[in-house]
Amino acid sequence: MNIIVVGLGKVGEKLVERLSREENHNITAIDIKRDVLQDTVNSYDVMGVFGSGASVDVLSEAGIEDTDIFIAATASDELNLFACLLARKLNSGCSTIARVRNPEYSKELHLFKEDLGLAMIINPEHTAANEIARALRFPSAVQIDTFAKGRVEILKFKIQQGSPLANLKVADIKNRLSSDVLVCGVERGDDAFIPGGDFVMEEGDFISIVATIKDAAAFIKKIGIKTNKVKDTIIVGGGATAVYLAKNLIKSGIEVKIIEQNQARCELLCDLLPKATIINGDGTENRLLLEEGIENAESFVSLTNIDEENVMLSLYAKTKTDGKVVTKINRIAYDEVIRNLGLDTIIYPKNTAAEYIVRFVRAKNNSIGSNIETMHYVLDGKAEALEFRIVENSPISNQTIESLSLKDDIIIACINRAGKIITPRGKDVILTGDRVIVVTTHKGFKDISDILR
């Protein structure tokens, strides 16, 4: 597919990186900063066009006539919307995606969504808040993705010290823990594996499991991770993300306390979030945090605008409370370092935003060539979880899974038979009409037959 990305900020660049990794896209990036453009062209397999995304000449040079998806991700909402409008004028067949952060715009956007051909509006703060809320509702599971319309989840968590999973073979889980879950991926250090039955899990590994929501909860309990929903949370930093997050949490009955330094902002928050407790003070001050009961808090979220501060705050919070700690990181450069700090949940707003868009692009792409229903990146982006629908005469249907000659690094993680979730074992048979989830470190699968040798 031909894709144009306007604006190579944090989200734009991440997006270009993700999309250019997939084989079937031709990406053209537009930016008004030459050096940023040059860096992007040097690092990723994309074409760069210098200029403004709101200029007809620039868009024509970028090949707007043949573009399938137009993504405007500059810092300015107005420019993004205008660029999308222009793109539609020049090519009425393209889908447009705009980054719109101002809640005042997004509220009214449905009024002219149609006119702009907006297929999607992305708001990084909003998506990040959703992600955090999800993590808070399911403590200790580092990452949760849902499949099969929410019936199946992929949970990723770290094997803690003394966990019954440490030094256990993957094949022994079923007997030892009498639990019907399937380990679909293991991350150890920088490597990602799709484990076979003989794989031995170790302490410190990040394990991804596939299970129904009920089984997942039971399994998590069995291996000794607390599953109760948090009852309250302390948020440091009262920016846009905090507002979205607080609204979301308050709705599901979680008490929210926001610590914000700026008096005026506090007053605004007070107005926006009548049910939240707003504290005007410096969140980096230990005494204030202790006074506000960090030791008894069941969760703690650091959302200031300074990454370093967020990391320090979270590390401090970890020493004071056993609750869930969530850290927001805007810039990603020190990914590996941050991971080794032992912070359990880290949210990268630009990643989540880029991920949402990539999913949309995938789905759009799939509607033309392949039969992938949904697609998620798992194992830190090193693997993909793909949901396929099995059509008639599929090469993998009507035979036991054992007898299929699968490629390496592939696992059939789940079968959804008309809403009934089956954890596939060797003797199971895949039938026409089933939906299967395949987890693989291979990239660019288009059809279920791609999993065969």
Binding site: N26, T28, V41, N42, S43, Y44, D45, M47
Partner: protein, 478 residues
């Protein structure tokens, strides 16, 4: 430095070279020459080195600009060494220095030869000699990138280091698609020329080898007389195609995409064609007493001009006997070279154009010291970095020219010979004047000078900096 990735690229290049040797092998089989075993053996040798390097595929595939430069420079050196094997093994060119000179001359599309009697070579070796032009013309790494899905945008550094021009851009977002388009255009034009030559009465062998020489702007002939003894039709066809291959390939792509307006906005192409027409006109009037009739004069002057400016180096007549004005124009064209983004060598018309515009800008600034003037190209402002890069290239070119000139003067040949021999190799043309004129060759140089000139050819083909980077201590630090 990602040494493993560089050795992986080298391995790929060697395997491509082994595959390339299949064609002359088939040629040898066709003409039932004993050289067929030579090519099998040499291809096997390439594979013996190449395959293990490719199999040791590195995990870390990142390549930065530095790795790109080094990989390209080393690839070209390796290619020239292994490509020389058939000449040595078959015994046609017993001296290894001579064989490498000949091969480097082939790959860099120079077309300078050390052979006194080309016709003595078996046909398969002549075929290999010409085929190296074709491979080197568009570039072996461009070919590699077209075939191999190398990771990320890193492979762009390979194309950047190998392709000529002051700023190498892409035609389409994907590097590999860009490379495929370039090779597509290259192959179509080559086939077209082969067909037209075949129609003109040449046999397949002649049509192929001459087309390879034209397409790559190389200039190896297959008979001692060069192109002089072919029919006027053949000479005209070659003239036209040499000019075609000297034009920026993005011009053809834009036309193909029906973006005619953008295509005709490429200033370089117009300046290039302008230089060709003007030079032909001047030489036509300057040499009309030498030939019978206007057509003959026009044909010879047009052939020589397009042969020299595209840095092909074919000749239909001994232009060393031409009047001084004509000879001087030809030597100046040797420096100038063809368009960036073509298969030709030299400094490139676009760089000359930018240098010229910079000078005009300088004069304007002298008149109005506070005025803001920017150098523009194709209607766009050129960044300071680009202009500086062009200036540096020109300086480096001149310094290397001088250095090589001094180095080879140790052989005590006359100045014209040395001067034109250096420009003919550094700009990848082939023949020069005087003792290296179109009817002579480079065999009179000592081994020392041949090695220097071989290096000059590779430096010229890769546009200087990739090779110079090899000599920097900083490059090799981990």
């Amino acid at each position: 430095m990602n040494y493993k990735m560089i050795s992986y690229v080298l391995g790929c290049v060697l395997n491509i070279e082994a595959a390339a040797m299949v064609l002359p092998f088939l040629c040898a089989v066709l003409y039932d020459e004993s050289a067929k075993w030579v090519f099998l053996l040499c291809a096997a040798l390439c594979m013996v080195v190449g395959v293990p390097l490719v199999l040791a595929r590195p995990k870390n595939k990142t390549m930065f600009a530095k790795e790109g430069f080094v990989a390209v420079a080393l690839s070209w050196i390796t290619m020239s060494i292994f490509g020389a094997l058939p000449f040595v093994v078959s015994g046609c060119i017993p001296s290894f220095v001579d064989a490498i000179f000949e091969t480097a001359s082939g790959f860099t599309t120079t077309g300078a030869s050390i052979l006194n009697d080309v016709e003595a070579l078996p046909k398969s070796l002549l075929f290999w000699r010409s085929f190296t032009h074709w491979i080197g013309g568009m570039g072996v790494l461009v070919f590699l990138v077209a075939l191999l899905p190398l990771s990320g945008g890193d492979n762009f550094h390979l194309i950047k280091a190998e392709s000529p021009g002051y700023s190498v851009g892409k035609l389409v977002p994907r590097v590999s698609s860009t490379a495929k388009i370039l090779y597509g255009i290259y192959i179509v034009f080559t086939c077209l020329e082969v067909l037209l030559l075949k129609i003109g009465g040449l046999d397949w062998f002649e049509s192929l080898t001459l087309s390879f020489g034209t397409a790559g702007t190389g200039g190896f002939g297959i008979v001692n007389s060069g192109i002089a003894d072919y029919s006027s039709y053949v000479q005209v066809v070659i003239t036209v195609f040499m000019t075609i291959f000297g034009i920026d390939f993005s011009f053809y792509y834009l036309i193909l995409m029906r973006r005619i307006k953008s295509a005709f906005k490429l200033e370089e192409v117009w300046v290039y064609l302008g230089i060709v027409v003007t030079s032909v006109a001047v030489i036509f009037f300057n040499t009309r007493h030498l030939f019978e009739g206007a057509f003959e004069t026009l044909k010879h002057s047009a052939f020589q001009v397009s042969s020299i400016i595209t840095t092909t180096g074919y000749s239909t007549t001994d232009f060393d006997l031409w009047p001084q004005l004509s000879k001087t124009i030809l030597v100046v064209l040797m420096f100038c070279g063809a368009c960036a983004g073509s298969t030709g060598g030299g400094i490139k018309v676009s760089r000359i154009l930018i240098l010229f515009k910079s000078i005009i800008k300088e004069i304007k600034v002298l008149a109005h010291p506070k005025s803001t003037i920017k150098v523009k190209m194709n209607g766009r402002i050129l960044e300071h970095e680009t202009v500086r890069g062009v200036n540096m290239f020109f300086m480096a070119y001149m310094f290397i020219f001088t250095g090589v000139l001094i180095a080879i003067s140790i052989d005590n040949l006359d100045f014209t010979t040395n001067f034109t021999a250096v420009v003919a190799t550094l700009s990848n043309i082939g023949p020069g004047l005087s003792q290296v004129g179109p009817v002579c060759n480079f065999s009179l140089f000592s081994d020392f000078s041949k090695v220097i000139l071989t290096v000059a050819m590779v430096i010229g083909r890769l546009e200087i900096f990739p090779i110079l980077v090899l000599f920097s201590k900083n490059t090799w630090k981990r």
